[in-house]
Symmetry: C2
Subunit: 184 residues, 2 copies
């Protein structure tokens, strides 16, 4: 599947062209293996990675949350997620976010997939993990309001996928991967 000569472009120059508290924007000057040069912009990859859990109460019941998304200015159905804190690995971060956002800890965490958001414009990765053997435990989070916790049956996933407040590609991918796994 790898094509001969399809070497990665050479990065001739990268510079930060704009920044804010949270984001940085980089301009990259690239030379492709065929000699064509292009200038691209991308978001600077944050030094901290992210993690997202698919918490399963049983083989058919996933724990969803409902949270305000400032990017879209709407409440959205999503899954517990967040950035690693200092010294955490993905398992620690997954379990902490699950306790903060949904009020559960997980006895068992299984890596499902490491996903990207928009590889053309962002280096951001998120580790998506299946969370099982749940037990009730709540940690205080930094949310401005308590999140609504919604147990939902994977057997009713079609209905969920049709909702206009359920749009996040990472969440759709994670739920469909989980359903395939559970159906085996």
């Amino acid at each position: 599947m790898t094509r001969e000569g399809n070497r990665k472009p050479e990065i001739l120059d990268t510079r930060l062209v704009a920044k804010s508290r949270l984001f940085g924007i980089e301009e990259m000057h690239l030379r492709f293996s065929n000699g064509v040069e292009r200038t691209y912009e991308r978001l600077r990859t944050p030094p901290i990675a992210g993690v997202m859990c698919v918490p399963m109460l049983d083989r058919d019941t996933v724990v969803l949350i409902r949270e305000y998304g400032a990017g879209v200015d709407e409440y959205q159905i999503t899954l517990p997620k967040g950035a690693y804190e200092h010294g955490e690995d993905w398992r620690d971060a997954a379990n902490r976010e699950l306790k903060e956002e949904a009020g559960y800890g997980a006895g068992k965490l299984t890596l499902l997939k490491r996903m990207t958001l928009s590889p053309g414009y962002m280096g951001h990765h998120i580790t998506v993990a299946l969370a099982e053997d749940l037990y009730e435990e709540r940690l205080p989070g930094d949310e401005p309001e308590p999140l609504e916790v919604i147990p939902w049956k994977l057997s009713r996933l079609d209905e969920l996928l049709q909702r206009e407040d359920m749009t996040e590609a990472r969440v759709i991918a994670a739920l469909l991967m989980t359903q395939r796994l559970m159906d085996r």
Copy 2:
């Protein structure tokens, strides 16, 4: 499922704090319905929407492409996609991107799902469409190098999902939604 009193936060102020050729970063000052105030940052939503196709040669064969992603600085397996051009609707844009990136036109386009990337930080949406009744037709695109076109069997989707150059959440979600549809 809607909780009483879970009204959207009031946007007290929005201002542009950084911008580049392609991106803008906004700072939002919000007041949640419980009175808590927070300052968030988000990417400015671009005025043009995006579209992504799942092109099917037959009920088991999807047309993938392999493209350099500057955000991750790696070649990635993805699906034909791009932004609407002036005056286009999603069907026009889907068919044009398909012809430019994969060398096919589609006789039939079906809306699968309107997806978001990261609703907490970005308003970006992409319309994901199933493309069927394909015919060969190539349009010149603006790619710096020709894209590698890879027909892949959905019956071998597990193998694809395990690849480290297949990570994009929107693509995973689109392929899994298509497989569910085709299995019916």
